[in-house]
């Protein structure tokens, strides 16, 4: 099976090359037989890549240490689930995984849009196959997972125990699923540019894929944050590290696209811009893979430097060049069909939303590559860190948060004063009250106050929309609040799913601002000694060390410290933090020591305890921090995922027009619902 897998990878290479050539030829010469052959070539590539993947999984699960990839990523004693996920824990495997997803997506995308977009199919197929060709070629020639060792090691090197965690098992595949999904809209955009069929039809095929990409990127990013927070022990979840940034960039452009596409659907505007966003999302995904894999930028995520970097750079610049040429020569076909009519309109709000998202993306991109740029320009590397990203992104992010409330409710074309009053009077008051109350409670710094005020405003607009909708349903259909709520969401998934996502965003912002009040204490405690501190809410905490215990379960040595914890004199129980040293089957240490963080989590506050070191067998060096509102990052992320699912879920049945519909005059409640919908 392993041999079959290895051979299949080479056959897949030939198939992808074939499909690329004949699909483009079929498109250029308008020969449907060639196109059909190209499409079959893509399907065959998919089948071959599946076989190759099955081959690698077989090698991993049968623990065939004669393969370098297997020997350097797993060990005999590792739990099977992590042996399965070891597939994508290294370079060669992740490239194969990428090819697997792309060929799967490509097959689905082409199979489902063959009839609908016959004109676009040859070019889209050719483009998907060309990207596949690049990934499979890199896999075959530069990072082959089937490379054999010239000796047979008795055991593998194993996986870093920090990676043996649920979050880390599912975080990379989600990011890949998101990254790779940007390739499908890209392929259709290229096809539309080639054929000059730049009307709304290519967008139809593309929106769902962009949404899928957004969905998986969101899950991937949030899981990555969660993993970093619970596993790495630095008491944060986002460090503006180049690798984190590179997953954030395509998320930003895809988010921008999902908004601006509505303007094109409704008003025929922003046609050039949408093509640019689709292309940018894909290129940024490639860029992200490039900087993660090449080591050109200093990152804590130090993956081994490898020759794959050059291949990625070439591919990146080649695709950029081709797309710039295509867009440049087709500008005339992309003229807008309508003009912006007023600055106070939904169109304008969405334009600003896009401007801000792209502004943020640009700042993040610039900050990420600044070391390279400055070295080119001045000969010395200059790095920028979190202060840079915060200084730029906090103001832009706050403007964006405000628009999250405005955009969905303001009228199309030109908003009237009465529209503005009706939609925004209550939310504005709610936001103001939140800010004033917090100020009175003693929160006196500007950025958090503005954040919470805006959070209140946006949350109120969302609440208002749901209340209006449910009330209308209750009046028309006589439904209970709960059925009304579910029907409301089910009948208009895009709109209410979007609101659910926005509610998640509000929670995230609230949590981010909470971290401004984070406090940290470095403490040294011997057995029986205690430490007292006040948390950001003013509660008095007391931690009493129960001493350091040492134990050696199965495959590791553990030093653990237990802290008996009290808040305002009330006993809360124990928080335990550990230092672990994992061992291989011969008892040699594997990797360095790792920290097992102790976290006590509530809706208001995380109490985060890290055992930094042990001296004289019973003196624990600890870092204790109070991290407000962290839990809302995970809840908000979850809500965004749910909202994304609601938007993506296929409409079960088209609403049948009711008999005599035209004859029935809308009731007052229906008129209200209609007015709300406009």
């Amino acid at each position: 099976m392993i041999l079959i897998g290895e051979l299949s990878l080479w056959v897949a290479l030939l198939m992808a090359a074939w499909s690329t050539t004949v699909s483009y030829a079929g498109g250029a010469m308008r020969r449907s037989d060639l196109t059909a052959s190209g499409v079959r070539g893509l399907y065959a590539t998919f089948a071959m890549v599946v076989l190759a993947a099955v081959g690698l999984w077989t090698a991993l699960l049968s623990r065939d240490f004669s393969l370098e990839y297997v020997a350097s990523h797993i060990s005999a004693t590792m739990p099977s689930v992590y042996i399965f996920t070891a597939f994508w824990s290294g370079q060669a495997g992740s490239l194969l995984f990428w090819a697997l997803i792309l060929s799967m997506y490509g097959t689905i995308a082409i199979a489902t849009s063959r009839k609908r977009n016959a004109e676009l199919v040859p070019w889209a197929t050719g483009t998907i196959s060309a990207i596949l060709l690049f990934f499979i070629a890199t896999n075959c020639f530069k990072a082959n997972p089937f490379t054999r060792l010239d000796f047979l090691p008795p055991d593998g090197r194993g996986m870093n125990p920090q990676l043996q965690n649920f979050g880390m098992a599912v975080h990379p595949p989600n990011l890949y699923l998101g990254y790779v999904a940007t390739a499908i809209p890209f392929a259709f955009a290229i096809a539309a540019l080639f054929t000059r069929r730049l009307d709304a039809e290519w967008l139809g095929s593309v929106r769902r894929w962009a949404l899928l990409s957004w969905f998986f990127l969101t899950i991937g990013i949030v899981l990555g944050m969660w993993w970093a927070y619970v596993e790495l022990g630095w008491s944060g979840y986002w460090a503006w590290d180049p690798v984190e940034n590179s997953s954030f960039l395509p998320w930003l452009t895809t988010t921008a696209f999902l908004h601006s596409i509505m303007i094109q659907e409704k008003r025929g505007m922003l046609r050039k811009w949408n093509v640019v966003l689709v292309v940018m999302s894909f290129l940024l995904s490639i860029f992200g893979t490039f900087i993660t894999r090449s080591g050109v930028i200093e990152s804590v995520h130090s993956f081994a430097q490898s020759p794959v970097g050059n291949w990625f750079a070439t591919f990146f610049f080649l695709s950029t060049g081709i797309t710039v040429y295509l867009v440049g020569t087709r500008l005339k076909d992309l003229e807008a069909k309508a003009e912006l009519e007023s600055m106070v309109s939904r169109e304008a709000a969405f334009l600003y939303n896009n401007l801000l998202l792209i502004g943020i993306a640009f700042a993040v991109f610039w900050g990420t590559i600044f070391p390279i740029i400055s070295e080119w320009a001045n000969g010395t590397k200059i790095t920028v860190g979190p202060p840079f990203f915060n200084a730029v992104n906090v103001p832009l992010g706050l403007l964006l948060l405000g628009l999250t409330g405005v955009g969905p409710l303001i009228a199309w074309r030109k908003a009237s004063v009465s529209n503005l009053k009706r939609q925004f009077a209550t939310p504005a008051i709610v936001g103001l009250i939140v800010a004033v109350v917090l100020f009175a409670l003693g929160m006196h710094s500007l950025a958090p106050l503005m954040t919470y005020g805006l959070c209140g405003f946006v949350a109120a607009t969302i609440g208002q929309e749901f209340t209006k909708g449910v009330r209308a349903r209750r009046a028309i259909h006589h439904e209970s609040v709960i059925t009304g709520f579910f029907h409301l969401v089910a009948r208009n998934r895009r709109r209410y799913g979007g609101y659910i996502v926005h509610a998640g965003i509000v929670m995230l912002f609230a949590a981010f601002a909470g971290m401004a009040f984070r406090t940290q204490h470095d403490v040294t405690l011997a057995t029986g000694q205690s430490f007292e501190a006040r948390d950001p809410y003013g509660h008095q905490w007391k931690f009493v060390s129960q001493g350091v215990s040492t134990s050696s379960p199965r495959d590791r040595l553990v030093e653990a410290v237990g802290l008996e914890t009290f808040r305002d004199g009330k006993r809360l129980g124990f928080i335990t933090s550990e230092k672990r040293q994992y061992l291989d089957t011969q008892g040699n240490p594997l990797f360095g020591k790792i920290t097992e963080v102790g976290i006590r989590s509530t809706a208001k506050l995380d109490t985060y305890v890290v055992l930094a070191g042990v001296r004289n067998t019973d003196v624990a060096e600890l870092t204790i921090s109070f991290n407000p509102l962290v839990v809302w990052v995970w809840i908000g992320g979850f809500l965004m995922m749910i909202g994304g699912l609601v938007v993506m879920w296929p409409q079960a049945e088209k609403r049948r027009p009711q008999a005599g519909y035209a004859a029935v005059m809308p009731t007052q409640a229906e008129r209200a619902e209609l007015a709300g919908a406009v």
Binding site: E68, S72, H73, S89, L149, F151, P153, P154, D155, R157, G158, M159, N160, Q162, G233, W234, E298, V300, H301, S302, F303, A304, E339, L340, E341, S342, M343, L351, Y352, L355, G359, F362, A363, F370, T380, I382, T383, V384, G385, P387, F388, A391, V392, P395, L396, D522, T524, D584, Q586, N588, F591, G592, T595, V610, A612, G613, R615, V619, E621, T623
Partner: protein, 149 residues
């Protein structure tokens, strides 16, 4: 004025704001990222360079890590092969900070030639990707197994 023009102007203002924020943030918080050799050259050219906050990427000299009895202070040597200098770091060191790893230290170079760091990032190639299998041949486990065979 047409709304389109208005939008373009206000858009330019927003982007200008972003650009301004970026520029000022870089000049205020940007840090030189140097190798020990580059740092030595800078210090020689301009001794007042010791006032600037910088980051240095280098490798820890094996066996040079000394820990203060209080546990909160580390003294060690870093090198890039050509130049080396001592570093004093106050704070809690990351799990991965051990002999001969690559580190990034952030802080100031004192006029006495000692680097005082307030930031210490340690990275080793084996953190997320494992050491190449060749290294495996040097481990006791491999030698024992090979000896049996």
């Amino acid at each position: 004025m047409k709304p389109r023009t208005k939008f373009l102007i206000s858009g330019a203002l927003v982007l200008g704001l972003a650009g301004f924020l970026m520029k000022s943030a870089i000049s205020q918080t940007g840090q030189f990222y140097l190798t020990p050799t580059e740092l030595a050259a800078k210090m020689q050219a301009d001794p007042s360079f010791s006032n600037a906050g910088i980051k240095v990427g280098a490798r820890v000299v094996p066996g040079s890590i000394k820990r203060d009895p209080s546990g909160k202070e580390y003294a060690f040597q870093v090198t890039d092969g050509a130049k080396s200098f001592p570093v004093i770091y106050r704070g809690i060191a990351p799990d991965t900070f051990t002999d001969s790893v690559d580190v990034v230290v952030g802080g100031r170079m004192g006029t006495d030639g000692t680097f005082r760091a307030n930031e210490l990032l340690a990275k080793c190639a084996s953190r997320y990707e494992n050491a190449p299998v060749d290294k495996y041949k040097q481990t006791a486990g491999y030698k024992a197994a090979a000896g049996r065979a």
